[in-house]
């Protein structure tokens, strides 16, 4: 969006002396100060990337890149730092959270955007916003004291594991997916809805055959960002996953994720162990950057199509 010429403030280089020299310098200086602030955001990301990489780079030498990325055992006492069990744990819990959370979130968004009366909307929308604000440690606590005993009853274990973590994460990603899906539905032109209703379609047919396909890319964006939230979530998972770095053994068996392993080990890790934890942080950073890049590529695709 470029601004029209007459909005760019008083001309500085034209012959018209509309601005005193002092004003001109002050304006230019302020502009540069703002620019520096904006560039700080870039510097922040660079700093995070550089420092995390610098501290985790050692995994290439010890335990070695192959043993790190391809290792099937994470055990600090044996000095083995293979991330595969943790990656599988993260994927299992994220997958479970998406299976439960995405339909609920998209359903809620469709409800808010297409069905709910203004009064219902005034109840449900604040609830969704509030869910986004609940601290993750409170979710974890709730999962620990409320949900875990129920899961223990169902699966016959202690209740720590994939199922409990997935359910808690599902609730946590509902606001992310729901808000973005609602935005996507809101940007579908009303004329399309009217055309569908005019053809005699029911509300559900309009939603299913017209609105959801029209908002498809926005909804995919929403799910990807929800996935990012689930992959990166830490405290809630630590409190209910059971934190055993082993491969998926069933919904009720304890499991560990990349994030939970960092929290558990960080309190006592030294040497190679600590380097490996920073190596895990690099993996997380790359995952989240990849997802952000994917969302941006998708929205560019969307903009080109429209």
């Amino acid at each position: 969006m470029t601004e029209p010429e007459h909005m760019k403030g008083a001309p500085s280089k034209s012959g018209l002396k509309m601005m005193s020299r002092a004003t001109y310098f002050r304006e230019a200086m302020l502009k540069n100060i703002f620019l520096v602030c904006a560039v700080l955001a870039v510097a922040a990301v660079a700093l995070i990337f550089i420092f995390t990489t610098a501290r985790g780079w050692g995994v290439i030498k010890d335990p070695g890149l192959a043993a790190f990325l391809g290792g099937t055992e994470w055990s600090s006492s044996l000095g083995r730092f293979g991330i595969l069990p943790l990656v599988v744990g993260t994927l299992a819990i994220t997958f479970g959270a998406l299976m439960l959370g995405a339909p609920l979130a998209i359903g809620t968004a469709v409800f808010l955007s297409e069905i709910a009366s203004p009064r219902m909307r005034a109840i449900v929308r604040p609830a969704v916003e509030m869910l986004a604000g609940v601290p993750s440690v409170v979710y974890g606590f709730f999962g620990l004291v409320m949900l875990r005993p129920i899961v223990a009853e169902l699966t016959g274990g202690m209740g720590f594991g994939t199922l409990t973590a997935s359910v808690i994460l599902a609730v946590m990603i509902v606001p992310t997916i729901s808000t973005l899906t609602e935005d996507a539905l809101g940007s579908v032109p009303p004329g399309i809805r009217e055309a569908s209703y005019a053809m005699g379609a029911t509300t559900w047919q309009t939603i299913y055959k017209v609105l959801l396909p029209a908002a498809k890319i926005g909804i995919i964006d929403a799910i990807i960002l929800g996935m990012g939230r689930a992959i990166g979530e830490t405290m809630a998972v630590v409190m209910v996953a059971g934190n055993a770095p082993q491969f998926f053994k069933g919904l009720g068996a304890p499991i560990a994720t990349i994030t939970s392993q960092i929290v558990i080990d960080m309190s006592y890790a030294t040497g190679t162990h600590k380097t490996a934890l920073f190596g895990l942080a690099i993996i997380l950073l790359l995952m989240s950057m990849g997802l952000v890049a994917l969302v941006r590529a998708l929205s560019r695709l969307n903009a080109k199509k429209a």
Binding site: A44, V45, I115, S136, I262
Partner: protein
């Protein structure tokens, strides 16, 4: 199945989705409230935890939470607001703006545990601030920067253009227009963004546990270590000690978040009324 029945069933399912969301929130709030309300006494709020079972109150953790959040807001807010002013008012679309936006998006997506490890490696270790309120506040600033930046940019863009034209028409300079016309008009929404960021900072655990440490003293100077309410709740719950205090801490945390949420709502309503 007739299309009318399919419609009814599908709409029923969508209703159920909407209601489930409300019920889940209600369950969390009611559960924490019922189990925690008995704990909330002046003694609990103002005294410090004692002994291996963390008996007594959580006073220092409340102070540490407010301290680190306030300090972090003092650091982030000016930078984030000015950066947003640049993006919304000054920047010409191009590579640089693209890079800034990508950076802000990435920053918003960085998992908090990575932010915590980075804060530990950079502020605690490399710069040598140690486990301290200052380290925690600086690390939290990385987390809240994109939130305030995005809210401010949207707020500025929502200010109608003709107001600016009026200002330029009267001979005001760019900065005069921005500082006297645009920012005041955008203020309520900027405040909403700041409150939202404060909520995130108060509820954050993974960042502060590795930067502020876990000392249960009352932090006085910014270089003191401290334990936030979230870290306290985490420790109590994981070690299974003094669950009553855990419920009380969870309730106070929820009350703070609820307060922030209601403030943004009140601001938005007031803003609508003033404009209406």
């Amino acid at each position: 199945m007739s299309k009318r029945w399919a419609n009814r069933i599908a709409l029923g399912v969508l209703w159920l989705c909407g209601l489930t969301t409300v019920v889940v929130l209600g369950a969390v709030i009611v559960y924490v409230f019922v189990r925690g309300i008995g704990q909330i006494t002046p003694e609990f709020v103002f005294t410090k935890p004692q002994g291996v079972n963390a008996e007594g109150g959580i006073g220092p953790t409340i102070v540490a939470t407010i301290y680190v959040t306030g300090l972090s807001m003092l650091i982030t807010t000016p930078i984030a607001v000015l950066a947003a002013v640049y993006l919304a008012e000054y920047a010409v679309q191009g590579k640089l703006v693209n890079a800034i936006r990508f950076a802000a998006d990435t920053l918003a997506g960085v998992p908090s545990i990575v932010m915590g490890l980075f804060g530990f490696a950079f502020f605690v270790d490399a710069i040598g601030l140690g486990f301290s309120v200052l380290s925690g506040a600086l690390a939290l600033s990385f987390l809240t920067l994109p939130i305030i930046m995005r809210a401010t940019e949207e707020a500025i863009r929502a200010v109608p253009r003709f107001i600016r034209w009026g200002s330029y028409g009267l001979g005001a300079s760019k900065w005069q227009t921005v500082s006297k016309i645009v920012l005041p008009a955008a203020l309520p929404r900027i405040l909403t963004g700041i409150i939202l960021a404060m909520g995130r900072a108060v509820g954050e655990t993974a960042v502060v546990i590795f930067t502020m440490g876990q000392a249960v003293y009352m932090p006085i100077t910014p270089l003191d270590s401290g334990r936030s309410m979230t870290v306290h709740l985490y420790t109590l719950a994981m070690e299974g000690i003094n669950m009553d205090a855990a419920y009380g801490t969870a309730l106070l945390l929820m009350a703070m978040i609820l307060f922030f949420n209601l403030s943004t709502r009140w601001l938005a309503a007031r803003n609508r009324r003033l404009k209406g």
